[in-house]
Subunit: 130 residues, 2 copies
Amino acid sequence: MKPGDSFENEFVITQEVQNGFISLFRDENPLHMDHRFAREKGFEGVVMHGNILGGFLSYFIGECLPVKNIIIHSQEIKYVKPVYLDEVLLLKAEIKNIYESVNAIEFNFAFQKKINAIVVAKGKFQIGII
Amino acid sequence: MKPGDSFENEFVITQEVQNGFISLFRDENPLHMDHRFAREKGFEGVVMHGNILGGFLSYFIGECLPVKNIIIHSQEIKYVKPVYLDEVLLLKAEIKNIYESVNAIEFNFAFQKKINAIVVAKGKFQIGII
């Protein structure tokens, strides 16, 4: 792996994923559960939990990179646009820096809607090679 | 809510939570699954997925704050120490800044081990009032 290398994977927040997340973590905030509330607040419908994208990052980092002997040091995410049920998202991550002295690699990433490439969330994460 | 106000909640990554997270997001990286691998890498045992703490933050933000009409703008977390199965964690969050002009509130947070107050993860998140 070297700076500029990029990796991607597709994700969808299906009803099954949303239900699983709610059942696991019990965040039943009305923005995620109540269509009428969400529409009154100006959204198209209930908004998916931002931390579902964190679960996708977990899979991406743990399973989609060319090395398995890694641990996450830090993770930052900005939620740019609401994500709705069943939207197909493309996660793209690019190596920004490699810190050889401490065996760490920093990535920039973005989740885009597959249909129009609009970025819904972006940020960075740093992993350590263990 | 005003700067300095603080909120807290207890969380535990039980076997049920870990299994639920793996079943939902399919991150089966050996650090999370293979005790021998984790010990060879210098850990006491398999390390819990960092993004499980993101699920706890989702619950905390969506359900434990005094207002429900909120959305997460951004979230940053640094993983300071590994978290192991069944450790009792205390999440403490404090309001750092309130940006009235844009209806946003910034919090600092830390997850501590309840038994000895050692911080395992820390960071900040910003929410918007909707």
